[in-house]
Symmetry: C2
Subunit: 165 residues, 2 copies
């Protein structure tokens, strides 16, 4: 009998030594106390950083097996197939892991070209000015994107905003 | 009297509303329960992801004020001026923050061209193969960098390895 489509087969290796983790070929991810690993997605063509998120073991497995980015939504506390609501699926062209295997880098192509729930192409649409501050100075962010790619109200309707204060 | 060089002047805004955080010009970073915010550094020229780390409020302030990347080392539990030991200082050319202000993106130029304590240019020197797995299959990582930029033993001597199992 064929395995159900939703049953992941993939196994991760146990973390046995620093040499194995840093210099070996085992995938031995380090999940934090909440069972999460940090994830960064960049655009495969422009190199632009699109978003920063987290995966649990299931999201990591599904991303590897399907080639589409899955995350763990901390604000909604659920598995999150990116683009399931908005249509802005992230197709993973290359997937890398860092030296101590506690961070994942997805190089993606995005259907529709947007990755940010606010409506911008990237979640990183504001820059922080660099330089010495006067006493008690408050930095003022500068917008680096000025045009929304989509209208969040049309795409998400009345769904609650994931941003938490 | 001039303020001591080590006394940061910069103030962050309180997080008052989703609109302020997402669409405003206040820098109102969201530190997690451990007082940390996620940080990603990419190479300003190649766009390559160099590392993923964390900052506390002091590291964020020092990075903004000096234009050189400072992190909070979770494994060593200390403020970490990147490059202080190795010489591989990260000069921040642009600094961005994401929609809900819980992640920072540094676009940097690195003295010496390396950002990974293992000796590679980037911490992300291994790729994860994408695709359906056979039952109980263990993925095998592929090296995407093959040449070390420096010899960690020469640079760090007997300093403890920051990777934790």
């Amino acid at each position: 009998m064929a395995a159900a489509q939703s049953a992941p087969n993939l196994q991760f290796a146990a973390r046995r030594s620093i040499e194995q983790v840093e210099l070996g070929r085992d995938l031995a991810p380090k999940f934090d106390a909440d069972g999460l690993i940090a994830v960064v997605a960049t655009d495969i063509d422009s190199g632009e950083l699109l978003m920063h998120g987290y995966m649990n073991a299931e999201a990591l497995t599904r991303t590897i097996e399907t080639g589409q980015a899955h995350y763990w939504s901390r604000s909604r506390a659920c598995l999150w197939h990116k683009g399931a609501t908005s249509g802005f699926v992230q197709h993973v062209r290359q997937m890398l892991i860092d030296d101590d295997q506690d961070a994942v880098w997805l190089r993606v192509r995005v259907d529709g070209g947007a990755s940010c729930h606010v409506g911008y192409r990237s979640c990183f649409y504001r820059s922080i000015p660099i330089g010495p501050a006067a006493e008690d100075e408050m930095p003022r962010l500068q917008f680096t994107e000025t045009e929304l790619v989509f209208d969040p109200a049309q795409v998400y309707g009345n769904a609650p905003n994931p941003t938490q204060l």
